[in-house]
Amino acid sequence: MITETLTLDTAAPVMPESIAPQPVRKVAIICSKGSLDMAYPGLILANAARMSGIEATLFFTFWGLDILHKEKVDHLHVATVGNPSMPIPTIVGGLPGMESFATAQMKKQMEGLDIPSVREMIEMLDDSGAEIYACRMAMDMFKLEADDLLPQVKDVISAMDFFDKAAGAQIIFI
């Protein structure tokens, strides 16, 4: 077994690979869904990337714009109908109030585990240096203005702009 000994006074110190400065890594995450359960994967991945020193760019499009919308970010819902992962029969899931009830249950569970709200995740991501963009085309489709979005949104850009920003990055689509 070889042990590697690091000393301060050698001219070219050898260090475990993980501590030595690494080449920059980048991820670019496309968030296209707006339900509560689908809002988290993109945000958590981006945050984990930032915590690991990986640069992160987020691009919100279509229903993902709900996550950035000032009036909607605190009111995202989880689907109770047509959702095969939900342990509720569709006939029950379709009853009035079920969607709100299931959403409230999910939120309560998350609070119990001290999982941050979607709004707080966006704030944390902005503080961590992740870049947050909204999709121009989706903004036009939903007739939204930059003013409707959270202050952490850096800019409204096109898909081609997104690819420019994602150069060299690993792209994740959610």
Partner: protein
């Protein structure tokens, strides 16, 4: 297992660079590791974070996640990323002689 020798001490690290035996931590170790990790000399703000992490880990039995540090240490998220660029969650624990935090936030 990689070892780190500094100023008369030799300590063992795990393959990721985290201190194996936390009893072996010294403030000097923190300075040495910070230098190697590219953090630069440790300021009073760095030490505020490191001290909080060590105290919280002793209380809770596990190293604090980044969000916990930003809420309870008195140093906020933005500043944490300035003090420990490229991975404050891991780097703060590394320098504080704690194991890598397990959570996602």
């Amino acid at each position: 297992m990689p070892e780190l020798a500094y100023d008369g001490h030799t300590v063992q690290l795990n393959p990721e660079g985290f201190l194996l035996d936390k009893q072996q931590w010294t403030p000097q170790f923190a300075e040495v590791l910070a230098g190697k990790a590219g953090i630069g000399p440790l300021t009073e703000r760095h030490w505020k974070v490191i001290t909080f992490c060590r105290e919280d880990a002793a209380r809770e039995g596990q190293p604090p996640g980044l969000r916990r540090i930003s809420k309870l240490s008195g140093v906020e998220m933005k500043e944490l990323y300035q003090l420990f660029p490229k991975g404050p969650g891991k780097l703060a624990a590394l320098v504080a002689g704690l194991p890598k935090p397990q959570g996602c936030v």
